[in-house]
Assembly symmetry: C2
Homo-oligomer: 406 residues x 2
């Protein structure tokens, strides 16, 4: 089918021909509402007239950046990678991914489960909800998806086939390269709130820090460890107290192990800073610290668990090494992944301060003085991460950095 942008009415015509969607709704009469307020795409809720909880989501990419308009071209092929990533993650760990009922690369759209009992995690964290199962859930999802899409599990040809499926996600990878690692650390027209800001001036002149960021950018661009979500912040997680679900993997590509972990860590740092500066809720801050420690520690343990079940892979030929040497190698390997994730967290946390894409916890603070305080705190933590990531030993050191930064 040739691409055309759907609207509230043509969405309903389109799904008439999609058996998997029609069999979900049965004989019900349907309605469609546009519900998305996303930056990139159009999102419709399609629901049964007589039971609006019986619903699916249709998400369609348009060939421009929705929040700016048609003059900011952005190829709709990004939806191909979102579809492929959803399918791949679903095949590895279905319970953390919305169920996909239909997808079409030619129409740049996907129809999937409507998560009505979940909220965006970023909002939940602002509202001080303690998601007690989250560290267990996300560590499983990340350990499984990263391990099973890496050369530690796949064969050499399977790994290359995986790269083939995601290598051409050119525009969104370039967006990350520019926005996460470059523009937010220099005078740039896309930056926000940097005028007359002493912290911004200091940041832009901090060459020691920027060298670290450049090293990590190079790693981001050239290190093909595993299939990443590519944008795993707390706005890409739908959650309630029982379940967590990962959405919006349009930035997916085969990149360095530590990146998704780092992005998530950085977004927890933003939340920690918000609750240090704005809500000043010590108890909730401690819950955030505990969650950080748990998800990073559990990730490492689970990753090693998955690895222990795998005998042959692109990397390892059974019998190459004795058991003790192999265990030592694996421990060193996962420690290096952990270190990189701390470095990437430094980039992600810092870029949210002046970069075009801010986070609600910091940029959303309306009181100017408080916002400045929060920004300074984020930058301080990010700097500690970046200057220490190559030698950091364990999760406790991360908590120390966060506690000492206040």
């Amino acid at each position: 089918m040739n691409y055309k942008k759907l609207d509230k009415l043509t969405v309903l015509e389109y799904i008439l021909d999609v058996n998997s969607v029609m069999s979900y709704f049965g004989e019900d009469e349907l309605q469609a509402d546009e519900i998305g307020d996303g930056n990139l795409n159009f999102v419709y809720k399609i629901s049964s007239l007589k039971d609006t909880q019986k619903a699916l989501i249709l998400k369609q990419a348009v060939p421009y950046l929705r929040c700016v308009g048609e003059e900011f071209a952005l190829s709709r092929e990004r939806m191909n990678y979102e579809i492929r990533a959803l399918q791949k993650f679903y095949s590895i760990f279905p319970s953390f991914i919305p169920k996909v009922y239909h997808s079409s690369e030619s129409m740049s759209l996907v129809v999937m489960e409507y998560l009505d009992s979940h909220v965006i995690m970023r909002k939940g964290l602002l509202d001080k909800v303690e998601y007690k199962k989250f560290s267990e859930q996300i560590s499983t999802f990340m350990a499984a998806t990263l391990f099973y899409t890496s050369s530690l599990h796949l064969s050499s040809s399977e790994k290359r086939a995986l790269i083939d499926r995601f290598n051409s996600n050119v525009e969104l990878c370039k967006l990350s390269e520019d926005l996460v690692f470059s523009f937010a650390f220099m005078e740039h027209e896309t930056n926000i709130n940097m005028e007359d800001d002493e912290n911004a001036k200091r940041l832009f002149l901090d060459m020691e820090l920027k060298e670290r960021i450049l090293e990590l950018k190079y790693k981001f661009m050239t290190q093909n460890d595993a299939l990443l979500h590519g944008d795993l912040h707390t706005g890409s997680i739908m959650i309630n107290e029982k379940e967590a679900c990962v959405i919006d993997p349009e930035f997916a590509f085969v990149g360095p192990f530590g990146f998704d972990l780092g992005v998530l860590l950085a977004n927890f740092v933003s939340s920690y800073v918000y609750h240090s500066v704005v809500s000043r809720d010590d108890e909730y801050r401690e819950w955030i610290l505990l969650s950080i420690k748990e998800f990073l520690a559990k990730f490492q343990a689970k990753f090693l668990d998955f690895w222990s079940e795998s005998k042959n892979s692109a990397l390892l030929v059974d019998g190459y090494m004795d058991k003790a040497a192999l265990e030592a190698y694996k421990k060193k390997f996962i420690r290096d992944v952990f270190r990189d994730s701390v470095g990437f967290a430094g980039c992600e946390a810092a870029r949210r301060v002046y970069g075009v894409a801010g986070v609600e916890e910091i940029r959303g603070i309306s009181d100017k003085l408080l916002r400045a305080e929060a920004e300074a705190l984020v930058l301080k933590i990010a700097r500690e991460f970046l200057m220490n990531y190559k030698t950091i030993q364990n999760c406790d050191e991360i908590l120390e950095i966060l506690r000492d930064a206040r």
Copy 2:
């Protein structure tokens, strides 16, 4: 055109339809001779009857490993990557690549310049020829081809397009992964001369060393720095005292900067060991040491020169860093490339001892005791390389390792 394997006669029929080849020969009557004794492919010399120096080479891949026979399947698509690499290298530095007159991916063949005044460099080194221009030549070729196919020069989308062109060279990458990094360091049916060999036993139990090799294998598989030749030993270089030409890039893929450098260094080590143990020619050994030092040092200087002319790339946005910081970053970057190349040289040198693909300088030594002496010397040097590559500072340390190893 559908693929069919050519022979002495059908080769001449095939080129009748190829204008670029026919215009090279004009009205001359032609003959074809099979001249290849390669492991993988069939090679024909097509020449004018009245002037046999007026000649071209036609190289065709068959869907099996020629030296074993049809029972060892190896997809003929490897020729696609050889053609693409020849074209890419030629576009960057034509004087080091045989001129291609015609290529066909569907027929898995390439027609190229006949290098009649050149010899295979490995043979020249055995014959103690001092190629005085070689370090200058090869350092230019490698610095240019590696730099201009990397994220230090290309844009983000150009780099991904390059990866697309080479990512599916699956079988030959897998061969390298197995043969350079795995099988030669463990009990394996493909190994040669390892029975009752004390050095082999010691090597296979040397877990400290094998951990280093595994780290480098992981880097080989996942680090996408630049387009590599992939098999740049002295048998892939045609040379005389004026010119050097790089051939046979069928192992080409986008991989780590240090690999080609390391392979070349290792093959110079084999030659050094041969002239230490067999010919015992001190003067020639010194020439080899000088060449090693020169090509590694010149490579680094030229790479930095190319880099200094490049302002914007996937990695660098103009204005991101001040000049001094950028210079420091680049120096560190090239030092790390150098270090990796020493590590890769350790793998390549050592794998030639018991691995299935030996080198003439070592495996070709007919005297068993001398061969054992040479093997021990190679292994000693390779071990020094591997145990020290992460901290090695400069080329002189490499020469020290070689001198001290005797």
